[in-house]
């Protein structure tokens, strides 16, 4: 009994009032991930948009619906918003990067808020959430390379977005369970979905010696993001540890093959 209590208390330090995602203010307010956009001479970003609400309609819905997209730059400042009409039960692949100007930088975040929140969500006291699929092209690649969303990060009320992430009481580690190896190059993109400014450390640890070989520090504004680059040499095997007060510092990972030319994207 006492052992169980101690175990609960120990876990409580990490979980009490530290949800991954808070509840939005109202049941009619939709939720979105903060997806990452990249735009440059070599990057294009896409999003497959479809109306989630119309899947919940008992008859095949004909009602025209829309989604609002809000763009933020890397320091978390809103740079643009737009409304996209969607045909129910169809998808529309949007080139997200076409909305971004050169002055806005080469990476940042965006959120997608659906206008159609069906009554069944409200009846079940649930919130409709857009968790993705974003895709990227690099160097005019033929395929779009897909990755799904990570977080229920942000909601919207009366045209004004607000974040749902909370900060941890204690600093915690996110250990990416992926081997960094084979001469590959990596870019790790992390978002700040909390109301607090966040300091983040990326530590690269040699798995043979268990010693840190490199670390980099970043700070992120609320709504903002940071990008950390790393390159492996030869057959060294490295693992990444991210320390921060984010409840879950799960990064988007962009991987580039050097021995064989390829590009891959996934989340932690």
């Amino acid at each position: 009994m006492i052992k169980l209590l101690i175990k609960k208390l120990k876990r409580g330090i990490w979980t009490y009032r530290q949800p991954l995602s808070s509840k939005p203010r109202s049941l009619i307010e939709p939720v979105s991930d903060l997806f990452v956009w990249r735009k440059s001479d070599i990057w294009q970003t896409y999003f497959d948009l479809y109306d989630i609400g119309s899947f919940y309609s008992k008859e095949i819905s004909k009602k025209k619906v829309s989604a609002k997209i809000i763009f933020f730059n890397r320091v978390g400042i809103k740079i643009k918003e737009c409304k996209i009409d969607i045909e129910p039960n169809q998808k529309k692949c949007i080139e997200i990067s076409s909305f971004i100007k050169k002055i806005d930088g080469d990476f940042g975040t965006f959120a997608i808020f659906h206008s159609n929140v069906p009554d069944n969500f409200i009846e079940q006291k649930s919130y409709l959430t857009e968790r993705g699929f974003v895709s990227y092209k690099l160097n005019r690649s033929v395929l779009r390379h897909y990755v799904h969303g990570n977080f229920d990060a942000i909601s919207i009320s009366n045209n004004s977005s607000y974040l749902l992430g909370t900060s941890s009481l204690l600093k915690r580690e996110y250990r990416l369970q992926s081997n960094l190896t084979n001469d590959d190059k990596y870019e790790f993109l992390l978002i700040n979905y909390t109301h607090d400014h966040q300091k983040v450390t990326f530590s690269f640890v040699d798995t043979d010696t268990n010693k840190e070989i490199k670390s980099e520090h970043f700070s992120m504004n609320t709504n903002g993001c940071c990008l950390c680059k790393f390159e492996t040499k030869g057959n060294e095997k490295i693992r990444l540890v991210i320390s921060s007060k984010l409840v879950m510092a799960r990064p988007f990972v962009f991987r580039y093959g050097q021995k064989k030319i390829f590009f891959d994207v996934f989340h932690g």
Binding site: V31, N89, N120, H148, S178
Partner: protein
């Protein structure tokens, strides 16, 4: 729940899975152990397991599909980590009772990928569990890509506790359609590889996958020129369209809506 890390197969590619013996965070698990690396597969009547190595603390190990020459052809290979030795043969999917890999933020994951000899290489961080044998599937997919030399595949991965190979129909619909575009026989405890390009889908069509009595993970792979480029991703389970509240009741409601739609379509046919 005991975690498995499948080793994928796909046309013109070979699968690899990297298993990791370190926790994904520093607060959910306080102890770690040296672990056995296992490969488990079904022959249709029994689960078989072979230990292929031992993994030290803080180490990772890459399992290549090509190296598993002891597997029967087309067998679904499930890798796993265990503190205790798993039985060589069992009538239900084996599990390690003492394993301490239960994390939530995030789950204890492996790197599951495909690469081709032409250079393409794609992966995701994932894990898999056995599904109940009385469940059904509903999945919405936007992943089809169109263009010259592009090929789209569904890799439908099904794992059940029983080693028996069960067959059932996987129905392909369009979200705005009123007919079944295709029905394909799929088998439990397999990676079912289905080419999607000739099923009649177009650029704006939202693909809907349904089964009545089998659950699986739908993975979508697109390949350019037989593997020069590869893209791989899985669909979200429809329950993840909602957060908080009674999201499982909502999920059930959604499945009922689509089950009714499917049964009406079948009656029409």
């Amino acid at each position: 729940m005991y975690i498995f890390y499948p080793i994928l197969r796909a046309p013109n590619c070979h699968g690899y899975t990297t298993v990791h013996n370190y926790a994904p965070n520093n607060w959910e698990i306080k102890k770690n152990y040296i672990k056995n690396i296992n490969i488990t597969w079904s022959d249709g009547s029994i689960w078989k397991t072979k230990q292929i190595g031992v993994l030290g603390i803080n180490k990772s190990f890459v399992i290549n599909e090509r190296d598993l020459d002891f597997l029967p052809k087309n067998a679904l290979a499930l890798s796993s980590l265990s503190v205790n030795k798993l039985p060589a043969e069992s009538s239900v999917l084996p599990e390690d009772i003492d394993i301490d890999m239960q994390t939530n933020l995030p789950e204890w994951r492996g790197t599951i990928g495909l690469k081709s000899s032409l250079g393409g290489n794609t992966s995701f961080q994932g894990e898999a569990y056995s599904f109940p044998s009385n469940g059904s599937l509903l999945s919405f997919s936007p992943f089809m890509q169109y263009g010259e030399h592009l090929t789209n595949y569904l890799l439908f991965l099904s794992i059940e506790k029983s080693p028996i190979f069960r067959n059932t129909k996987l129905f392909f619909l369009k979200a705005n359609g009123s007919k079944i575009e295709a029905e394909v026989l799929v088998t439990s405890n397999h990676i079912n590889i289905i080419k999607l390009d000739d099923l009649g889908y177009h650029r704006n069509d939202m693909m809907v996958l349904m089964t009545e009595n089998i659950v699986g993970i739908p993975l979508f792979m697109t390949s350019y020129k037989k593997g020069i480029e590869l893209s791989l991703e899985h669909t979200h389970p429809p329950a993840s369209f909602a957060i908080h509240g009674n999201r499982w009741a909502l999920h059930k409601e959604l499945k009922n809506i689509w089950a009714k739609r499917l049964s009406l379509i079948k009656l029409d046919n």
